[in-house]
């Protein structure tokens, strides 16, 4: 299953690295980012996504990072490894564990990272990569920021969809 721009995205509730549950809460905009610990694309974009979370915090935007990877085959993506990473780094957004992979499946997430921007009605307004080049930090997550600015201003994002780029989600066998 996957969701298309304009569709209402599924709700969910997942635990962060402290065990506290998080869900899309009807914020003016919500960013759901599928990511993980081991993927170089996810790592390359992490600082840009984290900085966007800091920059948009005072505009009421909710950011949720989700790791859905199969930890059995990829131990570096285990819940314990997520906890260690958050303890060692500065994370301005909760890092959620999708142990069953149900949320990734419901969203049709393909890669790490894969970015979904939702409006206050949880309708999907942007889906794809954070920006056009994982190797260029000066991009600063431009597509993500453009989408957020548009949603917050009541406009349609442009682009509203880009090709997600990264490592494939590591599905359970």
């Amino acid at each position: 299953m996957t969701i298309s721009v304009g569709d209402q995205a599924p709700s969910f509730e997942l635990p962060d690295t402290d065990g506290h549950p998080h869900a899309p809460d009807g914020a003016s905009a919500t960013v759901v980012v599928f990511t993980c610990n081991h993927c170089p694309y996810a790592l390359a974009w992490q600082d840009r996504i984290a900085q966007a979370a800091r920059d948009y915090a005072d505009r009421g935007v909710q950011f949720l990072a989700i790791n859905s990877n199969d930890a059995e085959r990829y131990p570096r993506d285990s819940y314990e490894a997520m906890q260690q990473r958050v303890a060692a780094e500065d994370w301005p957004l909760p890092y959620l564990h999708d142990a069953t992979q149900d949320v990734a499946r419901a969203y049709g997430a393909q890669t790490t990272p894969d970015v979904f921007v939702l409006d206050s009605d949880r309708r999907l307004r942007y889906r794809g990569a954070p920006d056009s080049d994982y190797d260029d930090p000066s991009q600063e997550g431009a597509w993500l920021r453009q989408a957020l600015d548009a949603v917050l201003d009541g406009r349609d994002p442009a682009p509203e969809e880009t090709q997600p780029v990264g490592c494939s989600i590591k599905w359970k066998a």
Binding site: H38, C39, L43, A44, C167
Partner: protein, 57 residues
Amino acid sequence: MRFPGSPTILIDGRDVVTPSADEPIGLTCRVYRRRDGEVSPTPDPADLRAAIQEVIK
């Protein structure tokens, strides 16, 4: 065999970027560090050029 992940580029059987001892091994995505310190899914082009030049000199 210690496979450090994909992509790994070998020239005459030698890795263009020597994996560090603590680098995880297995069928996974490989994390490279570019010369400016940024994480990348591919080797720094300068490292690739240097490895080729080392072989052909």
